[in-house]
Every structure is written in C-alpha cells, then in structure tokens.
Amino acid sequence: MNTVAVENSGSPLGEPVYQLSNVSKTYARNLVVALESVDLTLTKGSFTSVIGSSGCGKSTLLKIMAGLIPPSSGRVTLQGEPVKGTRRDIGMMFQQATLFPWKTAVENIVLPIEIRDGKAAATKALDKAHELLEIVGLKGFENVYPNELSGGMAQRASICRMLITEPAVLLLDEPFSALDELSRDMMNMELQRICREQDATAFLVTHSIQEAVILSDEIVVMKPRPGRVAEIVKVDLPRPRTLDMMTTPKFGEIVDYIRGLLDKGEGM
C-alpha cells in the first residue's frame, strides 16, 4: 500500500535521490523495535515531511538517514551509494541553530568545509558563504558573532552552513520549533523559497501538521510501537505555497485527514 502511494506521487520528473527499502532498527540494548520495515523514496527537488507522536521512530529514521547510526536491516542508498556513515552530501539542521559563539557567522558557515578539507579550503569557500548569507537575507551580518543574532537569524545562518557543502539531501530536525509562531511561519516560507532556488531535496521531521502540509509534497505519517509508516499522504496544493493557503478548505481537509490518522494511533 505504501509503495503504491510512493510510486504515483512526487514531482513527475524527479528521479530518486534517497531510497530506503525495508529498513528496520532494533536497539540491542532493550530489544525495542524502533523502526519496522520502512520504505521511502525521496525524489529530486521534492519536500517530504515525517510526522508522528513521540516514540514513532522518526528520530531513529533521521539518524539512520544521516548516517549517524546503522539500520538493523534493510537498504539505505543516497545517489546510488549505500549510506555507511556520515557523508558530505547529507546536510543536517537541528532544532537549535548550534552556531559556535567563538566564530563569526561566516566562519560558522564554512565550518563544515574547514572540518573536511582544512583551513585553506574554508578560506576559499568564504565567497560562497557570503553569497549564501545574501540568499537567506543576512547580508551585512557576515562578521557578526552568533550572540548578536536573533533566533530566526541564527537559524538562517545554520541553513547556510547546511547548504555550503551542496548536499544532495537536506535533513531537517524540527528546525524552527524553537522559534515563536510568527517567525516560524516566515522561516518556513523562506525555507520553501531556498529549497526551490537550490532545487534541494528536503526531509523534514516536525510535530506540526500545519507546517508539514504547507511545506511538503508528501507527508509520511508514522505510528509508534513498533515505529512504522502508517501512510504516505500526498499534498497536491499548488506551488509556490503561501501562508494564505492555510485558510483554504483544501488545506483544512488534508490537516484533518492527517490528524485522523494520528489519532487512530493514539488508541494503542
């Protein structure tokens, strides 16, 4: 059932970038099945969200996709190559901006290059970091220390840090949930714009159904104990999405449908 939903969804031209087939994860420590046979395909330029109550395995899924932990079974391939550990074509972003206070904004952004290729390469990447800062609307804040940035600005900078290595897939772990609602809506629209401009393939973990619906082409609804995919919901709202769409009946319908799916899981 899930596979059917995957096959006839997504942008028609998109080729698969990230593929998971039959991925399971059992933690040896306590024999908890965190993830049970998950199949998932992210196509080029698509935006996919995963939503579910706590314990549904979404953080486990994200960690496997980031190459931070291995699956117990199943295949995980990015751009045709199996994911065995962290890779530079995987970009990641967290709930906290996690900028380092002893580095300026631009130095924080080239940090992934500094770690992988050394100081000289990082210096060369400065131009690109400046361009990225301009894209996210932080021009003029290049040499500012993170202490002086607001929460939203810090998250913009951390978007740049994620993009600097030109990753094939962006893994977003509730990136704006620490922000207030107004900034959050605004950042979500920014994220959409940036993803479209960069033709990025994004995978978002979120707790907010609205956020998932307004951003995504597909929403993976997960259920706990054991963590598994309940359904993959396609969102056929036109692009680019605007905040106004959140008041349309269609939007409400999809939100209600997903809420229904999540509530069913509650009963267990």
């Binding site: 980031a66 380092f100 940090l111």
Partner: protein, 287 residues
C-alpha cells in the same frame, strides 16, 4: 495601579494619564564605589574603636594607624629593593611556577578524565579521593622529598591548584550539547577535531572557573609551604614577624601578599575576557 482600574470603566476624553512613580530601591541608585567605601569605613572605624578603647590587647591587634605606618615602611623597603623585595620575588616565583605546573598537569588530567572513558572510569575516582584529602598535610612530605628550597613550595602550590583545574576542564568537556556533538559527527569530524574545535572552546568558561579557583589556591599553597618548610620567601617574613609579636608587620605583609594574589586573579580574569569574549560573566559569580 488601583487608579488605572477605577478609571477604566468610563474612560473620558480628558482622563488623566496613567503616570505613576515606580519605586527604586535605594541601593540601586548608589554607585558601587560609594557602597564599597561605606563598608571600608565601617570596618576601619570598628577597628579603630576596638583598639582605642583597648578592648583587645595592642599586641594582638594593632591600631589602623600603626598598620598604615608599617605598610608604608614595608612599601618603602619593597620599592627600594630591600630584603623584603627579595623575599617577595621568591614567593612570586613559587606562585608563577606552581600555577604553570598546575595548569599543565590540570589541563592534561582534565582532558584524560573528561575525554576518555578510561580516564573517567579508572582515573577520576582516584582524583576525587585525593581531592578530598587535606592537601596542606602533604607539605612535610614535599619538604622531605624536595628540600627547603622553592621546589617544595612550588610542588605544594601546584598540588593544591591542580584539582580545580582538572575538575573545570573535565566539566568543560562535558558542556557541549547533543546537537553540537551530532553536528560534528555529520560533518565527519575526527575525534581530535571534535575535541579542539568544539569541546574545548565550548568548555572554556568552566575551564576558566577552574583556573580562577586554582589561582587562589596557588597562593595559599606557596605561603603554607613557606610556613611549614622554611626558606626565604614572604611567608617566612610573616612567620618571623608573628613570632616577634610584631602584629602590624604581619598585617601589612599579608596586605601586600594579597595584592600579589589579586594580580594573579585579575590576570586570569583578563585572559578570560580576551579569550572567552562571547561569555559574559557577572562580578563575583564563579560561572
């Protein structure tokens, strides 16, 4: 406040502005230096009273005036390069060497304990055990091992100052949050890169807290070493003055000594301001 409520039900065109005076506590309006001078004068005043009415024997407690005169005498001796300066220089050397040694050992042990599982499991319990011992009691041992020269004092000073630096460094290495660790992992950072580019800089505030506690301890260690192990340092001058019941001298020597301690502390604080520029610290707070 009640004015606002009574005016609220029927707001009229010419209603009065809701302006009221917010009370500010008196101490908030007093500059720090005045408050500090106040405490100083109360202290010296009490001191003067106690000595004036001879509530305490003059041998035990000199008058403030006597102490001041003696401070001037000692100050002249120090400035003219007299024997006291020679003694002070010995003590300063002990403090500098002791602190440098403590920083080196403390930092190394701190990284061992804070970064490696082996250090945390196998070494930390011993450090905690040694830390709970009264370290001053080791002074006779250091004298026996290293003699009456400055070596035994350096050893005791370093011994006392090392532990807060170990604890500060180890705590600092644990200060990085889960996201930062994960981020470094996703960037493919090696263990050394994670240590030097993330964990150590993140832990600098805690490391400096340890250094500041150590800076206080190093002074105590050097002087205790001199009390118990002789030598020609400032502590010896204090001991001799005390044995001659020259209490004004003891007081003024202690005051000059505390200046040295203060300078060491301020140097550490200055370094912290420069290096950990992103971390603001309140006066008097340790972290």
């Amino acid at each position: 406040m009640s004015d606002v409520q009574s005016g609220a039900p029927a707001p009229t065109q010419d209603a009065e502005d809701t302006v009221w005076v917010q009370e500010v506590s008196f101490i908030d309006s007093v500059p720090r230096w005045i408050a500090m001078s106040f405490v100083f004068f109360v202290f010296v005043g009490t001191w003067q009273m106690v000595t004036y009415f001879e509530m305490v024997s003059p041998i035990i407690l000199p008058t403030p005036w006597e102490t001041l005169l003696d401070m001037i005498f000692v100050g002249k001796n120090l400035l003219s390069g007299g024997y006291m300066l020679v003694s002070l220089w010995i003590t300063i050397q002990e403090v500098i060497l002791g602190f440098a040694l403590a920083i080196f050992i403390g930092f190394s042990l701190g990284i061992l304990v804070g970064e490696t599982a082996f250090g945390e499991k196998a070494v930390m319990p011993y450090l905690v055990a040694i830390d709970t011992m009264p370290k001053v009691a080791f002074a006779p041992l250091f004298v026996a091992w290293l003699g009456f020269g400055i070596e035994s004092k350096v050893a005791l000073a370093a011994f006392i100052a090392t532990f807060p630096i170990v604890v500060g460094t180890a705590a600092g290495l644990h200060a990085a949050d889960e996201n930062a660790r994960m981020l470094f992992k996703t960037m493919g950072a090696t263990r050394l890169q994670t240590l030097f580019k993330m964990k150590l800089p993140t832990g600098l505030p805690q490391i400096f807290t340890g250094l500041k506690i150590g800076a206080v301890g190093v002074m105590a260690g050097a002087i205790t070493g001199e009390f118990l192990g002789g030598g020609k340092g400032f502590g010896e001058l204090i001991r001799v003055a005390a044995s001659q019941l020259n209490t004004p001298r003891v007081f003024s020597l202690i005051l000059y000594l505390s200046l040295v301690g203060l300078v060491v502390y301020l140097l550490v604080m200055f370094a912290q301001r420069k290096i950990v520029f992103w971390h603001e610290e309140r006066v008097g707070a340790h972290d």
